[in-house]
Amino acid sequence: MPATRPSVRQLAVDAPLEWVEERSGFVGLVEKFLFRKVPSDTSWLQTLGSSLLTVFILQAITGVVLAMNYDPSVSGAHDSIVFITNDLTGGWLIRGMHKWGSSVMVILLFLHMARTFMFGAYKYPREMTWVTGAILFIMVMAMSFTGYLLVWDQRAVWATVVGVNINGSAPIVGPFIANFLKAGPEFGAQTLSRFYSLHMLVIPGGIATFIFLHMWLVVRLGVTSPPWSKKRYDEAAAREAVETSR
């Protein structure tokens, strides 16, 4: 049989993908992730987690652009915010996306957590998914707190003074936590650079790490059916399913 000419699709798509798959296994990994089985009665309610991931990516990308133009100094911070908003091409849009995106992320987070709670999706075998999600929740709160100061206007500073002092009013450790956040006994220049570092380096790294762990567990354990599902919730069957998937 004479060799047939490979089609354009084979040349442009299949062959490169095969090349990558043979060397890395990435294609199989993506297929396993995207084409995994979910219960037939999942609904839009189970898309809140993906929405959160999307908003996190949006925040990360717009945050990179903002960081390129932001000056984390007491004298320059607010001026650089004004520059981003008024002078930088598209800066008003990027800053707006980041600002509104932060609120959207918190709202989606509460909805996602409420959905998980109401569906009882935190039960066996998904306890660790819930715990990693709870840690993500704390880190997103910390992002909101540290990001609010960076605008460096009167509202940002006084809201953060109040927030730091709320931490300070916790018994025993409070005064030390407040001093750690302020980088000393006085709220000042060190506080701003500390918040900037936490906001754009430390906490995002933690969030990315825990998103990976969270999604690893979601893919490994699968998605729960809603409470009104007729297939739900047979713990013995769930345990057996986990046993056989090993």
Binding site: V74, S75, V162, V164, N165, G168, P175, F176, G184, R194
Partner: protein, 214 residues
């Protein structure tokens, strides 16, 4: 069994009695392969831990150290004391607590009242609920954030503040009013060590708030 060279060696060793050398794959070896790998593994974890500590310790110390630094205060000269006499009302005055800083972040506002002679009361405008700036209201002070109310001596009369407003130590020197350290004020009106807003200095609750450096 005898396919594997180690097994052959094993049998040879057994047949020849004590041998100076035993293959690490055999159970006769002084250090078996399993023991070697276990020890190497433990050593790897140990050395890795040491390297981690060598990097992590300085990082942790540098990140935490500022939280344990004490407040450095500079005496502030508010000018002639006579500027504040002649009235029994509170007069507001702004000043820089860090003379080197020009950004305004270390600018503070205080209320000064003359009590006759060289006796002045200087009250800080930081609310002792959560640190917002208070302003004069009637004869006393009020906080716009969460409604804290203070009387003419800066003592809490209503709302959420944990204690009375802080006061500055002060003295008159060569006719000028000099501000010293900022102090917390307890229920008896005595100066005590400064604590952050929201932290009580009286009663059993004060023991829940150790003196963090201020």
């Amino acid at each position: 069994m005898a396919d594997h060279p180690a097994d052959q060696n094993d049998q040879k060793n057994l047949s020849e009695g004590a041998a100076a050398y035993a293959d690490p794959g055999s159970s006769q070896a002084a250090v078996t392969r399993g023991m070697f790998l276990t020890k190497t593994g433990l050593a790897t974890i140990g050395i890795g831990g040491l390297i981690g500590a060598a990097v992590g310790l300085p990082v942790g110390v540098a990140a935490l150290a500022p939280a344990f630094e004490t407040r450095s205060y500079h005496e502030v000269n508010l000018g002639p004391a006579s500027n504040f006499t002649g009235t029994k009302d509170w007069q507001d005055v702004t000043f820089e607590v860090d003379p080197k800083d020009e950004s305004g972040i270390y600018r503070r506002l205080a209320y000064v009242r003359s009590n006759g002679g060289d006796d002045f009361t200087v009250i800080s405008n930081t609310c002792m609920h959560l640190g917002c700036p208070v302003q004069t209201a009637g004869t006393g002070f009020a906080c716009p954030c969460h409604g804290g109310q203070y009387d003419s001596e800066g003592r809490r009369t209503d709302g959420p503040p944990a204690r009375a407003l802080n006061r500055y130590e002060n003295r008159v020197e060569n006719g000028n009013l000099i501000l010293g350290a900022l102090k917390a004020v307890n229920d008896k009106g005595k100066f005590v060590n400064l604590k952050g807003p929201g932290q009580p200095v009286d009663g059993i609750l004060s023991y829940l708030y150790p003196d963090a450096p201020q």
